[in-house]
């Protein structure tokens, strides 16, 4: 039935091949922001963004109106930069937008479909527009729909899909042509917990395959935390934070939270003599940052010496929420 539309002969030529090289080892940046600014009328939206994004999965965070979606749209070539530029896989978005888009998949935030189509027809059309010959496009459309879990519903009209299915269909059209970089704009919007878990599972699977990098824009910090290695926080059109989550977590391994019983005044003075910084957070709790040379057993020794009980000791890891809130308080990096 799908082949019945092939009324016009299709010229096929081996003009180009989408690169199959896994971008796992990222010596060169995936996205290089080079003073990128975008202005709508007289209103600056993105201001002098600079940085090199290299992670397999990069989380794009920021409050409403920070410029996350504008950044994605600019990278896709929907908006022209007012100054500066950006490079994706080494190509300039100003000059090579079309070549860049051959290597990108985009899942828009809002419902975006072509009317009166079955899902497989829709995904096939999207694959063909990306340059795949009709037969390969149809084959990959089936594969992509099975991959995202819509295999059994692929012949249904898109209009009859639930919200969760529509999100999966949008993901299928974003990956059908096997892009090297996938922009996901709020992929879990409006999904119930099982659908959300399925979506995040797919994102992690694509990330772990090492065949594609992901730029995930979301308001949901937990989604980003579950899927991304790096985060870029944008505030008022500027980069507030860009960090590697894993490194950030490792750096915080010396940050301890203690709950004590007993007279803690002499205890904290003794802790200070170790060269550790501390902060009393409540009557029985304190935070300690271990300095070089100091170890946890030293804390227990001092506690025993001063007859203080350590009832609880936790490594205090900065959660993404902490990083995000700190970025919102501190302002622009």
């Amino acid at each position: 039935m799908e082949n019945a539309v092939a009324n016009i002969p299709e010229p096929v030529a081996s003009v180009a091949v989408l690169p199959d090289a896994p971008p796992e080892v990222t010596t060169s940046p995936i996205i290089d922001l080079d003073g990128l600014s975008v202005t709508f009328g007289s209103r600056p939206i993105l201001k002098d963004l600079r940085g090199e994004l290299r992670g397999r999965a990069i989380g794009l965070l920021g409050p409403n109106g920070a410029g996350k979606t504008t950044l994605i749209h600019t990278l896709l070539g929907f908006h022209a930069p007012s100054s500066g530029t950006a490079h994706i896989f080494g190509r300039d978005i100003r000059n090579d937008a079309k070549q860049i888009r051959t290597q990108i998949g985009y899942m828009p935030e809002r419902d975006s479909f072509i009317a009166n189509m079955t899902c497989v027809h829709f995904v096939r059309l999207m694959a063909e527009l990306s340059g795949l010959p009709a037969e390969a496009a149809l084959e990959r459309a089936h594969e992509a729909l099975f991959y995202v879990g819509l295999g059994e519903a692929r012949y249904r009209q898109l209009g009859t899909y639930s919200l969760g299915m529509k999100q999966l269909a949008k993901l299928a059209q974003a990956i059908v042509h096997g892009p090297r970089l996938i922009f996901l704009d709020e992929p879990t919007n409006g999904l119930d917990p099982p659908a959300r878990a399925r979506m995040l599972g797919l994102i992690r699977q694509i990330r772990d395959s090492g065949k594609a990098n992901i730029l995930l824009s979301s308001h949901l910090l937990r989604d980003v935390e579950e899927c991304c290695e790096e985060i870029l926080i944008i505030k008022q059109g500027r980069i507030a934070v860009y960090c590697n989550l894993e490194e950030e977590r490792k750096a915080n391994l010396k940050f301890l939270e203690l709950e004590t019983r007993g007279d803690r005044e002499p205890f904290v003075e003794a802790v200070a003599t170790l060269g550790c910084e501390y902060a009393l957070t409540s009557e029985r709790r304190l935070k300690v940052v271990l300095q070089n040379g100091a170890e946890i057993r030293d804390l227990y020794r001092i506690a025993a010496e001063h007859q203080v009980q350590i009832r609880r000791l936790n490594f205090k890891r900065d959660s993404l929420e902490d990083i995000f809130l700190k970025a919102m308080e501190d302002g622009v990096a």
Partner: protein, 295 residues
């Protein structure tokens, strides 16, 4: 990414040439368009006129057939000569049908994509705005071509074959007139309908706008001409502009038999048509964007 593998895999096969990708849009659009029996019936009806004219051309050169119908060949040649006006009538009839065809399938071409936020999906791929508009226009261009200049040129070749090389050489300008006359209509109808489709989301309203543009512009043109006793009111009359162009192409200065003072000079009609097409392009560039930018 085979169905049974459930793993993400990049595509490593050949790609189609970039220049041909705009044809993907009409290929998929026809699947939808020809699902309607009404449209399919109407499209078949559009070939009645070329068929009748082919029969007339055949009868002109077949004495035994004329004898069978008891028609004097000389009478037929005098009453219905195969010449410029014959082909002009063909172009006029077929372009009128092309207008109706445009009204049927033109309005939802872009408006559906706008209503469903489909444009970002096209434009996030290696597919430019120009290719998108050309693709949408080609839905109409291909169909209208199939009922206007293609059968027109075939009729011309048929007549040339039966009449001989002399007729072909001395009437070659008719082939040019059929081609250019049809293409001016094709460009106007295709651009106009996609421009309206880009601005009017409701299908019925878009169809009405397409009709209204021709009717209202005619009314305004005649009103200006009547009140000011001038010919320049016809510059606002799309029908008159197209008829003037057709007349100039078929070397008939006033096929409609208008009073002399109302006949529009053909250069003015050409300029007005170009301005109109440029305006349609401007409207399209304003509207065909992945996302509307709120300034």
């Amino acid at each position: 990414m085979a169905v049974y593998e459930h793993a993400y895999k990049p595509y490593a096969g050949p790609l189609t040439p970039e220049w041909s990708r705009f044809l993907i849009i009409p290929r998929h659009a026809y699947r939808d368009v020809f699902r309607s029996k009404l449209f399919t019936g109407f499209f078949a009806l559009c070939f009645v006129c070329p068929l009748v004219m082919a029969i007339l051309i055949y009868l002109h050169h077949n004495l035994s057939a004329l004898g069978f119908f008891n028609i004097n060949p000389l009478d037929l040649r005098k009453a219905l000569p195969i010449n410029g006006p014959f082909f002009q009538t063909f172009v006029s009839v077929q372009t009128s049908l092309a207008f109706l065809l445009t009204v049927l399938i033109g309005p939802p071409l872009i408006s559906r994509d706008l209503a469903n936020n489909g444009l970002p999906l096209y434009l996030c791929r290696p597919f430019s705005r120009a290719e998108y508009v050309i693709g949408k226009m080609s839905v109409l261009v291909i169909l209208i071509s199939a009922i206007t200049w293609i059968p027109g040129e075939l009729l011309f070749l048929f007549q040339s074959y039966l009449e001989g090389a002399g007729w072909f050489a001395s009437n070659l300008w008719i082939a040019g007139a059929i081609f250019i006359g049809s293409w001016t209509w094709i460009l106007l109808l295709a651009l106009l309908s996609v421009a309206i489709s880009a601005w009017v989301k409701w299908r019925l309203a878009a169809s009405a706008a397409l009709f209204g543009l021709f009717i209202i512009s005619s009314a305004i043109g005649f009103m200006v001409n009547g009140v000011l006793q001038t010919r320049w009111g016809s510059l606002f009359n799309l029908n008159m502009i197209m008829r003037t162009i057709e007349d100039s192409l078929f070397r008939d200065p006033n096929s409609m038999g208008l009073p002399h003072w109302m006949v529009l000079p053909s250069p003015a009609a050409w300029i007005m048509l170009c301005l109109f097409l440029v305006m349609c392009l401007f409207l399209l560039t304003r509207r065909v964007r992945a996302y509307e930018v709120v300034r």
